[in-house]
Subunit: 585 residues, 2 copies
């Protein structure tokens, strides 16, 4: 036995296997996932496993490594989120999302930081050694809403598209703010004195980190699109480029201390339309499928690890600090959403209702990002208190808020997502209105979103498409593409329906010949009677053969001296074929 | 800049990216890959890169890590090979393959080992310090034909199925022999005295290593099939299980010092038919696509690393030893094939022709497995000589034999692979003959391959299918499955053909309405005239709309007071639809 040799890949494979099996297990009982979100169940599995490891080894189970989390587990989830991001609602609400993500997060960080500092001044709580800077640092890591947790819960409750994109977009884009504030306060904690220059440099970093991320992401995205122009002869490695370039964009951004999340999202959104047009249909299925699979596994592993890491001696319990952290997290988020939405609603016709505001505030779940950041803190004497408080906030938001949000959405009758996709007619009308509004904005000299969208579309078709698309001389109109897609789907459905349709059974020569052969076979080796194909299968075959014999029949009469082509018989036959194979026509 | 932090994943991603880009580069010039096999080009790229690294750093570039090779690069290739192994020719020729793989490899090992020992006795060559055991050890690593190299060359030359499976099957199954002999001689080298017990134990190990591998592989394969019974609700992680279980089978086998290659092949072949039936169509596309992609990348990386590792100061040059190694490798293989085929041909009706024998002997390419094994040797003073000899043999076989085998196959007019898939009629006849032969064997009491195949099929449908398949009560006959597959393919082709068919253009209300809207648009913002959809696209749309208006026209006359259903007009229309959409009917 040589376990040492294979240990690393073996344990990784086993962990992934465990995560996948846990997922299967939950879905075997259909009722469970409809009540409890999967994330809660996974954390629960993690808690049990952590307990077992703790019990057996008598020491804390290993904590989720922050490097593993940020380098290997987070990117697949964010890539998936970026690639499948509905771009229309995202760009329509980009202003509101940025307001929540930037101003809202700063508001939360300072709100939570200062009020916790206030709590620390109460002598009875014995917290006077926690400085303002430490509180702000803690605020910067606990304030950020977590995209993984939000996605896990909101994917199951199906709220309307706008509400979903507001919460989810915020959770993604606040990464830039979190990165800056967290690193700023951490470096302040280690500095002897803080100059005002440092504070201004910090403000400047916001733009560098955010816009730098976008720039890195877009450049990798366009390079990816450009690369897939040349893969026509080796279709099999096309999917690879989508993954490689987006991962490189994330790593490059992290390397330069930019926002990796923002970079990978920009990369995915930038390359999507070009890559889709360049690569083959099967490659695209593989890309989509693999992305979903990978993010789903990452997500599962993160929640299990979160559960495992909770168990152990890493915690210092202090009732007031932990309780007030939880309370402040809830209060400041609610206040922030109220105030910001008030301003947003003044400038928009399509306002955010108070129900929506409640769900936005209530959906601010914390997750694995906070958890990894708190473990990345430099060692100081109250680190264990921060870990305990973070753990409590995460477990509270994921378990209590995550489990009650679905009943609340039902209770408040929050507007749901429409189930059906828009019809072709609707899409044409939307397109028409876009053109119209762009024209109106152009005439009135208002540089609104339609104006910019139109400009971008123009730039895209004039320059980008020619560089990035393989068949740039024939860019297919989106309506033609949609038609092709629908037609393909329809054809497959027809093929499957034709399979199931019960036509009249005509046991024919070919059919009986086949039956004979299989019967002969049973006569020859008479000991295994069970071997005969069962009657269902035989019926099935008879049907198929009977249906296909139309072809033979049809070629017959066409050469007949006595009947003309177009006579009653072939017509009936054509109709019969139509009825049999194309019920939907 | 924080490179340390992201170094590991960044460099891995860059290597994979380089490999993929190199692949694209070769395929941009169509003529190159048709003359030089890809493996040669990749080694060449590796040599150049190695040279650059050597020139810049002034020390040997890093050698391909044997652990990385055996744990991460080899499994995807073998998994792909096992999963797509054509099982019928493989099992029909299993006896011959095993003879070549086991007896042939032992023959080569001892032949090369003893004759090199003979060379070492010549005083002029200054090789008297290389003992017999060391020569045998060297023989055990240099004798094994490499599946990666064989696959890379034979996939491009398209020889007939039997010849292909003989060479390729041998290269896969000789792993068990290589593992045993290599480990045996290595432990003998380190032992002070060798007892006869050890030798017998070595012989016993053959069976343990080979059969153990099969057992481990099959048990993981069946577990995988069993697991996919329960994934109906979470289709998205289905492909994962195929990869996880097969990788686990490889690692488990390696852990117990069994043959990992044999294990992963058994796993893949064992699970294939059940997994295919259980998982969804899209999952299966993803599995197949990803397997091909992964193995293709691994393969590329291996050859590039092989090139890079060749450069450096790891070599000790000794003309006689290296030349004689090369000559003995060629001679002993040729002799082995001749002798073994002589025996094989005596017991078979369908003999192996002398042309085929030449290609089998000539196709015995060496590759990365030898290379990794020679670096895994324990340190002793002549290790560098062995490394040099191995490198020369690999480069000679891959470059000289790999590049000349295609012209030789053309010159000798070796029977090629038939291009077209067998028709349904042929398949039915083959099935019928199988049944007939099984019956004959049963009556005559001869336990031949048909008898065993029949027994296995019976066991499969009686027990295995019921346990491993989801819909075990309705196991679809393979002919029904084939029909479904053909029908689906046909439907997609129809949809695409309908797309291209030029029906009569009927500019209609809907169509012109759409055109109007887009023309209005250009009138409103008259500055961008280039924005109008180009005429091709408009023609395309007109066509599509015209074709689909049939549906509207058809519902019209059906309610007309003056015409009866079945009147001339709808019939013509049905025929037109038929002609337009079902040209193949």
């Amino acid at each position: 036995l040589d376990y040492q040799h294979v240990q690393v890949p073996f344990e990784i494979t086993l962990w992934i296997m465990l995560a996948s099996l846990a997922k299967i297990g939950f879905h075997l009982y259909n009722k469970l996932p409809s009540v409890v979100p999967e994330s809660c169940l996974l954390i629960f599995v993690g808690l049990i496993m952590g307990g077992i490891i703790y019990g057996l080894n008598d020491r804390s189970p290993p904590v989720m490594d922050s490097d593993i989390f940020f380098l290997y587990l987070l990117p697949p989830i964010v890539l998936d989120a970026g690639y499948f991001m509905p771009s229309r609602p995202f760009f329509e609400n980009i202003g509101t999302i940025l307001l929540y993500a930037v101003v809202g997060t700063i508001w939360n960080v300072f709100g939570i930081g200062f009020s916790l500092y206030g709590i620390c001044q109460v002598k009875a709580f014995r917290l006077q050694d926690v400085s303002l800077l430490h509180n702000l640092l803690f605020g910067s890591l606990i304030a950020a809403v977590d995209p993984v947790a939000v996605l896990a819960v909101f994917e199951e409750i199906h709220v309307n598209e706008k509400l979903h994109i507001l919460v989810f977009g915020e959770s993604l884009l606040n990464d830039a703010v979190t990165v800056v504030l967290y690193k700023l306060f951490r470096s302040f904690c280690e500095m002897p004195t803080i100059k005002s220059v440092d504070v201004f440099a910090g403000v400047g970093k916001f733009f560098v980190v955010g816009l730098g991320g976008v720039l890195v992401g877009l450049s990798f995205g366009f390079t990816a699109a450009f690369t897939t122009r040349f893969t026509k002869d080796i279709r099999v490695i096309e999917p690879l480029f989508v993954f490689l370039y987006s991962y490189l964009s994330y790593l490059t951004a992290e390397m330069f201390h930019l926002s990796g999340i923002v970079a990978i999202i920009s990369c995915a959104m930038g390359m999507k339309r070009y890559v889709e047009a360049n690569i083959s249909l099967k490659s695209h299925t593989t890309v989509k499928y693999f992305m979903k699979m990978w993010s789903s596994v990452s997500d599962t592993l993160i929640f299990i690890f979160l559960g495992v890491s909770t168990i152990g001696d890493n915690h210092e319990w202090n009732w007031p600090y932990i309780c007030f952290t939880l309370i402040f997290c809830l209060i400041w988020r609610a206040l922030g959403v109220l105030v910001l939405t008030f301003f947003v609603n003044r400038f928009h016709v399509n306002t955010i209702t108070s129900k929506d505001q409640f769900i936005i505030a209530y959906g601010g779940l914390r997750g694995a990002i906070c958890f990894s950041l708190v473990f990345l803190l430099p060692d100081f004497h109250r680190k264990k208190l921060f870990i305990a408080a973070t753990t409590v906030v995460i477990l509270f938001t994921v378990f209590i808020q995550g489990m009650t949000i679905r009943p609340l959405v039902d209770l408040l009758a929050v507007k749901r997502k429409r189930e059906s996709a828009p019809t072709v007619g609707e899409q044409i009308h939307i397109r028409f209105l876009d053109h119209l509004l762009a024209g109106i904005e152009d005439i009135s000299g208002h540089w609104g979103q339609y104006y910019w969208k139109d400009k971008l579309e123009y730039f895209n078709s004039k320059y980008l498409q020619k560089i990035l698309l393989r068949e740039y001389d024939q860019p297919k109109s989106s309506i033609v593409l949609l038609y092709e897609k629908l037609e393909r789907k329809h054809a497959i459905e027809l093929a499957q329906a034709g399979q199931l349709g019960h036509g009249p059974a005509h046991p024919s020569f070919l059919c009986s010949a086949f039956l004979c052969s299989s019967r002969d076979r049973t006569v020859i080796t008479d000991q295994k009677l069970e071997d005969t194909p069962n009657p269902d299968v035989l019926d099935n075959m008879q049907e198929i053969l009977a249906r296909n014999l139309y072809r033979i029949r049809r070629t017959g009469p066409a050469y007949n001296r006595h009947t003309l082509p177009g006579d009653s018989e072939p017509t009936e036959q054509a109709k019969e074929i139509l009825i049999l194979r194309h019920k939907s026509l």
